[in-house]
């Protein structure tokens, strides 16, 4: 089902106006009761519209939907390319490459993603970083962190890792040892399992279709399937 924003806008305004005027007819416009009717009707129309759209949106962003990938996407190569039809960047999936040297079953992948989210909340990542653009503004946005060129260019040689996921894991466990700038991330005592889970989570998150946010992020091509 495709929902047009303009239809929603026009319909909510029109319905609010018409019902309010019908129910408030006969009342003087300077009487409180005239505006009481308008307040109740307008609020109700907007609230009902929000609830209806919520049903649609929650389904459209469930894990495994077109916009938000399933957990097992962590096994795939992930790219980020410009789609000329949408005029926006969007994630693309490539061949199966695994993560941390193995291919995770859907159930294992899901457990890892759950763990990753728990670690992210328990370490309060959002009070320095932004995720999907929300959080604090002290440290970089992590929406597409998995695709960031800095891992391959700087962090891999710095920590002596042979793959991006190994570099991320090592770096996350010792951010104070490998500063990239004067604002150093504190050591939040991540265990190896926790660091792996966060790495997997960041990889999964980079495959969410965010309507082109953040702006101008560099393209990442994937090899043919």
């Amino acid at each position: 089902m495709s929902i047009g924003w303009l239809e929603v806008v026009v319909a909510t305004l029109l319905v609010s106006l018409v019902i309010s005027l019908i129910l408030a007819r006969g009342r003087h416009w300077l009487e409180p009761s005239f505006w009481k009717v308008a307040a109740i009707i307008t609020s109700s129309v907007m609230a009902i519209t929000l609830v209806l759209l919520t049903f649609h949106t929650v389904q459209a962003i469930s894990m495994g939907s077109k916009r938000v990938p399933g957990a097992d996407v962590i096994n795939r190569e992930i790219g980020y390319v410009y789609n000329a039809d949408r005029r926006a960047m969007e994630p693309v999936l490539g061949k199966e490459v695994g993560l941390f040297g193995k291919v995770w079953s859907p159930q294992e992948a899901e457990e890892l993603i759950v763990k990753g989210k728990l670690v992210i909340q328990s370490r309060n990542c959002m009070d320095c970083h932004t995720l999907l653009g929300n959080g604090a503004y002290y440290a970089p946005d992590l929406t597409k962190a998995w695709l960031d060129p800095k891992w391959d260019k700087q962090i891999m040689p710095m920590v002596g890792a042979s793959s991006r996921e190994e570099a991320m894991k090592t770096w996350l466990m010792n951010p104070d040892k490998y500063p990239t700038w004067v604002r150093k991330m504190p050591n939040l005592r991540l265990t190896e399992d926790e660091a792996k889970a966060v790495t997997a989570y960041l990889k999964w998150m980079s495959a969410i279709d965010t309507n082109g946010f953040p702006a101008n992020f560099p393209e990442v091509q994937v090899s043919q399937k």
Partner: protein
């Protein structure tokens, strides 16, 4: 001086606790601002994330406490009787304060936990603004239910449900009901943020705005003697405009979190209209004050009510509108632009409202009939705070534009782009200016605290006081 209802005494406890937490908010804000300039400051001891969490959590809690105080202050005046569950209300106050103390101590000394549900239940949920651990969430809901029970119970017992009380009851039901939307765990961050905004946006940009409309309506009635009919008609217009634009204005938070593209249009359209009710509030305040030629028994309360109307319009309205359209927001979302908007909006809409209410209550407890509450310190605090907040906001706006242009529009939103933007003089200098104005704001708070403690008690203030009429 009037004899106080027990409910009003409880309101004063809430006001004082709120004002102290306001101080804590500023203190942790200053520490965070220093860390922007010198990241080694308290590094590893009290990290930015902890200071920032305390900064924003103290704010949410003290503003809520101020609103509860406002409700407990005016409720007996509106209904003409003591609040029904006053003992329960007092018990809830102590439970609330105790819970806040425990949460803060855990934040300060434990700071974070391992990645499991124990951390979410007992240390922090790690979700910006609603970081409070789950046990405290349940406590907040319990306190909220007691407040709601007292409002409904008192109105029913007095057999007096005025238009204002009607709006208050409906608003409280939404306000507290929405909090439940933030009390669950999901691994899916898109779904997480979808519901998280139901709490954060629908609180701040809908139910809080209406609650403040109710409280400021009561304030204007008692402060300027505005007729109930005008207040109620205006309140309904406010409700229509706030909910009419703010409920679907929620869409402006759904541009980039994975949600479908129709939110770009719906959110952009309705959030552009969100300044409308704020313009209406300014018209209302200016009109009322003009009708009464600024004559009042409580000057600080009147001036903070002005600051509320204008601050809300500029902070929430103008600074919000600046970056609410998706075409702009794609670049500015998650930059210091949001910090600039947030600071001015919270100060204008809610801090000023609470200070107006607090001064009004103080006037009633300390100033004799026929005299007005006035003096010099409140003016210093008032002007100092306004200069402080506008200075901070101006600095953050400059930083926000620079970040939008350098990190997002030019360098491509990567980790390195972030660092390059933050190191640019337009950002580095701005952070210094922000700290300077933050210090001015904090000093003004100290003057405010002194004035709140002594206003109406000082000999010189009484001597200066003019007899009204």
């Amino acid at each position: 001086m009037e004899r106080l209802y027990e409910s009003q005494k409880l309101a004063l406890w809430y006001f004082w606790t709120a004002i102290l937490l306001f101080g804590a908010q500023l203190l942790f804000g200053l520490l965070s601002a220093i860390q922007f300039i010198n990241p080694d400051f308290l590094y590893g001891i009290l990290n930015f994330m902890t200071n920032r969490m305390l900064h924003i959590n103290a704010m949410v809690v003290w503003l809520l406490m101020g609103f509860i105080a406002g409700i407990y202050w005016f409720l007996p005046l509106e209904t003409g009787r003591e609040v029904v569950g006053i003992k329960l209300g007092k018990l809830a106050y102590f439970a609330f304060v105790g819970a806040v103390a425990v949460v803060v101590l855990v934040y300060l000394f434990k700071q974070f936990g391992s990645g499991d549900f124990f951390t979410l239940w007992f240390i922090t949920e790690g979700r910006e603004y609603i970081e409070a651990p789950r046990w405290a969430d349940i406590g907040i809901v319990a306190v909220a239910l007691i407040v709601a029970f007292n409002v409904i119970g008192t109105a029913v017992a007095a057999r007096k449900i005025t238009g204002i009380i009607g709006v208050l009851i409906v608003d409280l039901a939404f306000l507290f009901g929405l909090y439940l939307a933030g009390m669950f765990f999901t691994p899916n961050i898109s779904v997480d943020q979808f519901w998280w905004w139901w709490v954060v946006h629908l609180w701040v940009e809908a139910t809080w705005e209406v609650l403040v409309g109710v409280l400021m309506g009561w304030l204007l009635m008692h402060l300027l003697g505005t007729p109930r009919k005008i207040i109620e008609a205006w309140l309904y217009v406010e409700v229509m405009l706030v909910f009419g634009t703010g409920i679907l204005g929620l869409g402006h938070h759904y541009y980039w979190i994975g949600t479908p593209e129709y939110w770009l249009g719906i959110g952009g359209f309705f959030s552009s209209l969100e300044p409308l009710p704020l313009v209406a509030m300014v018209i209302h305040a200016v009109y009322d004050a003009g009708v009464h030629k600024l004559k009042t028994v409580n000057r600080p309360a009147l001036f903070w009510a002005f600051a509320q109307a204008f601050g809300n319009l500029f902070g929430a309205g103008v600074w919000g509108f600046m970056h609410t359209l998706p075409q702009i927001n794609l670049f500015s979302h998650g930059t210091q632009m949001a910090a600039a908007h947030g600071h001015l909006a919270f100060f204008g809409a809610y801090v000023s409202a609470n200070l107006a209410l607090f001064y009004f209550a103080l006037g009633k407890t300390r100033v004799k009939e026929g005299y007005i509450l006035n003096g010099t310190p409140w003016k210093i605090a008032y002007i100092g705070m306004i200069i402080g907040i506008f200075g901070m906001v101006a600095a953050l706006t400059v930083a926000g534009f620079a970040q939008t242009m350098i990190e997002r529009a030019t360098l491509g939103s990567t980790w390195e782009a972030f660092i390059q933007a933050q190191m640019h003089p337009w950002m580095e200098e701005a952070f210094k200016w922000r700290l300077l104005f933050g210090v001015i704001f904090f000093l003004s708070y100290v003057v405010l605290l002194y004035d709140l403690l002594t206003a109406g008690k000082r000999v010189e203030a009484l001597k200066e006081a003019e007899v009204v009429g």
